[in-house]
Amino acid sequence: MTTATKTKMTLVQAVNDSLKCAMRADDSVLVLGEDVGPKGGVFLATDGLTAEFGEERCFDTPLSEDGIIGVGIGMAMNGMKPVCEIQFQDFIFPAFDQIVSEAAKMRYRSGGQYTVPMVIRTPYGGGIRGGLYHSQSGEAYFCHTPGLKVVVPSNPYDAKGLLAAAIADPDPVLFLEPKALYRSSKMEVPDEEYIIPLSKVATVIDGDELVVFCYGAMVPVCTKAAERVKESRGASIRVVDLRTLMPLDEEAVLDAIRECGRVVTVHEAPRFCGFGAEISALAAEHAIEYLEAPVKRVTGFDTPFPNTLEHYYMPDTRRVVDAIEEALDF
């Protein structure tokens, strides 16, 4: 990869690029969903795919998430590699049964005779004035469903490599794209295909006084928070981007907890039974003797997602800074 050419691109462009690489390399990779064809997707994640690969390989579907996932499962069982787009993660719920009952359980219930190597891509999260139904973060639902993998990239480079890994994976993968980061910045991304293995965290900033666990759109927020605390009081804050939520790299998470002794988890989803609770539970079950402060969660509130006040609902840098400082000062 050292001699490879690179291009500056946004996260959504990296998704698009990853899809193109996969479709060029493997004829069985298909893209389907609402408006993914000539329009190129409402966020342009599938821009140009129909033009390059034809309607056979990138196609619009009727307005039925149940159908998109339902036929995706069938295609995956019969030799294809479907990448299904759900236009907003908020609209995945009509397909919940197909995902939870069929995709997640097919290998298990058939004793491995049938499998569903499928990817479900969908933009999630707040920050675009989408209100209750264009802002949700449903990762906890899917992480609690055995048989599914859940991946959340936080930057263009990871997006391309993790999506490649998801497409190569033999099991169903939910690929949650932080829509707030779709175009927020650009990054150099290799032109050729590469894979970032699933179930490996990335340490964004190293540190040993406190660890912040985050993913997706909260990664830049937490990174900034760690930098601010470093500046303001010289504290050494580690920021870990979980990247794959299920199967979680539990060993890396626990190592970080044991090394730092103080923990803050940050996500946009509501707190109660959210993903952060699992991190806290792992800490309380396997690393309690290392804990030097309350294990904190900085999250969305336990309400539906508002609109006008969304930036008061979502964790921001200042809220993360406050939580870090409280834990440090405990």
């Binding site: 619009d60 609209f91 004035r129 509130f301 309400t303 508002p306 008061y312």
Partner: protein, 368 residues
């Protein structure tokens, strides 16, 4: 396909027997809707609101259908592209603009995106949900409640052509067929679901025929002909009110622009198709008829348009000037009584934001 006025405004069928005052109200609702759209587009282009749903081309479907209802007992479980239903029944443009801005007077208390209206007065209007098709079984349930109490109300539910593919359409139609609940299903077939044309949506020969699958009679009308829509919906409403059961009405129309203020239809609709439908404008057609019948006098149409342009402008200025909802509204209405954990989160939130020395970064743009 039922038609009373052809695209040029010529009478090709028998107009329904309806009070000219109601006819004028339909026209006014259609013009008001178009002026609301025009204002919303300007607001979105200038970054004052994030998003709107244009109704251009669809106004006759909503106005004609709404006119068939009795606001004192009927309910509307609408599609989002139904502004004229609200305006026909006298919802104030100010209430709608307050929702566009999500300000403190918004009925949704700033929690929903623009155009997600909710009203209880002057007609019960089921709070709009973004997930498509969900209102269909909800509407049937509302009607079943009326039926069980022996009331004679009717529920009108509308939805797009794309929405017929959802499970809500399927379950709602099926339950209505079995229960014979007093519902009128109105399919606003504007031929696209965002960029997806009807032929990729379904292979059925029409949307009206989908009623067969549920034992519900189907009717197809020219959706750009407000009198035809009124006529068909009125007959269906009367039938439902008299215990005759549900009806599915397909109103064939066309979205004369993008799906939303963020969509560019030129990526997927030929210019010639746009032109063809521009010639079928439902307002222009209705105006020709009204002027010919002497219901509108020369100058009236222009006056009405100016009147609503001014109304919408003012409403938007007033809405813009209103405060945002209080922080507390993030928490209230999650449940009737706020549970302890939400009280704690609310208290934390209010104290955090009122004491912190750093403002909140509020950027964020809606892409669709």
């Amino acid at each position: 396909m039922i038609q009373i006025l052809d695209p040029k405004g010529n009478q090709v069928g028998t107009p329904p027997n309806v009070d000219p005052k109601v006819v004028i109200r339909m026209y006014r609702a259609m013009v008001a809707t178009r002026q609301f759209d025009d204002r919303a587009m300007k607001l979105q282009r200038t970054g004052k609101v994030g998003f709107s749903i244009p109704n251009e081309g669809i106004e006759a479907v909503s106005a004609g259908a709404a006119a068939a209802l009795d606001a004192s007992k009927d309910w509307i479980a609408p599609h989002y592209r139904d502004f004229a239903m609200a305006l026909f029944h006298g919802v104030k443009p100010q209430e709608m603009m307050d929702n566009m801005f999500g300000n403190q007077d918004d009925h949704a208390r700033g929690r929903q995106m623009p155009v997600h209206f909710t009203f209880t007065e002057p007609i019960r209007w089921l709070s709009i949900s973004s997930p498509l098709g969900t209102q269909v079984p909800n509407a049937v349930g509302i009607a079943m409640a009326m039926q069980k109490r022996g009331e004679d109300g009717v529920v009108l539910t509308s939805f797009g052509d794309g929405s017929t593919s959802t499970s809500g359409f399927h379950s709602g139609m099926n339950f209505a067929g079995v229960t014979q609940a007093p519902v009128v299903f109105l399919c606003q077939n504007n031929q696209y679901a965002i960029s997806c044309p009807v032929e990729k949506q379904t292979a059925s020969s029409s949307f009206a025929i989908k009623g067969e699958a549920y034992g519900i009679p189907g009717v197809k009308v020219d959706g750009n002909d407000v009198l035809a829509v009124y006529d068909a919906v009125k007959k269906a409403v009367d039938r439902a009110r008299n215990g005759g059961g549900p009806t599915l009405i397909e109103a064939l129309t066309f979205r004369m622009g993008g799906h939303s203020t963020s969509d560019d239809p030129r990526r997927y609709i030929e210019a010639s198709v746009m032109d063809e439908w521009a010639a079928k404008d439902p307002i222009a057609r209705f105006r020709v008829y009204l002027e010919r019948e002497g219901i509108l006098h020369p100058g009236d149409a222009d006056d009405i348009q100016e009147e609503f342009a001014a109304v919408m402008k003012e409403a938007s200025e007033v809405a813009e000037g209103k405060a945002r909802p209080a922080l507390e509204t993030i928490f209230s209405d999650t449940f009737k009584d706020m549970p302890e954990h939400l009280k704690a989160q609310r208290d934390w939130c209010i104290s955090h934001y009122s004491s912190r020395d750093e403002s909140v970064n509020e950027k964020g743009e809606f892409p669709l």
